[in-house]
Symmetry: C2
Subunit: 105 residues, 2 copies
C-alpha cells in the first residue's frame, strides 16, 4: 500500500495556472492587460505614454505576457499592435474560476 497516488497531481493545470498567475504578478502587467481587455482589443506601445517606465522596460513586460501566452503582437508597420490572446485569456479565466470555486462554505 504505497502512497504514490498522493502526489501524482502536480497537474499541468496547476502549472499553467501558476504561469498565468506569475504573468499577472506585477502591477504594470495588470495595467497593460486591463487596457488590452477593456479599452480595445488591440493596442500598441504608446503604453510608453501612459506608463512611466522606460520603453525597454515596457517591452520586457510585454515579452513576459507574450511568453505566458496572454497576448499576441501583430506587426502593423511602423508599429506593433498588441492584442489579448482570447483563447489564453479564457483559459486563464476558467482556471482561476475553478481554483476559487470549490472552497468550503
Amino acid at each position: 500500500m504505497e502512497r504514490t497516488a498522493v502526489k501524482l497531481d502536480y497537474s499541468l493545470q496547476e502549472q499553467q495556472l501558476a504561469i498565468f498567475a506569475k504573468a499577472l504578478g506585477h502591477p504594470v502587467r495588470i495595467q497593460i492587460l486591463k487596457i488590452l481587455s477593456e479599452q480595445a482589443c488591440c493596442f500598441n506601445g504608446d503604453l510608453t505614454e501612459i506608463i512611466p517606465l522606460a520603453q525597454s522596460t515596457i517591452s520586457q513586460h510585454l515579452k513576459s505576457l507574450k511568453d505566458a501566452g496572454l497576448i499576441q503582437g501583430k506587426i502593423m508597420p511602423p508599429k506593433i499592435r498588441y492584442c489579448l490572446n482570447k483563447e489564453a485569456w479564457s483559459e486563464a479565466q476558467q482556471l482561476f474560476e475553478s481554483l476559487f470555486k470549490n472552497h468550503i462554505s
Copy 2:
C-alpha cells in the same frame, strides 16, 4: 488640457491583484492553496509529506502566502494549522473575476 487623469489609476486594486497573483505564481503555492481550499478548511505542515521539498522551503512558501494575506496559521500545540483567510480569498476571487469579466466579445 493636461492628461494627468490618464495614469491616475494605478489603483490599489491593481496592486492588490498583483500581490495576490504573485502569491499564486508558483505551482507549489497553487497546490497548497488547492489543498487548503478543497480538502479541509485547515491543514498543517505535513505538506512536507505531500510536497517533495525541504521543510524550510515549504515554510517559506507558506510565509509568502501568509504575507499576501491568503492564509493564516493557528498554533495548535505540537503543530500549526494553516487555514485559508476567507476574506482575502473572496477578495482575490472578486478581483480576478472583475479583471476577466469585461473583455470585449
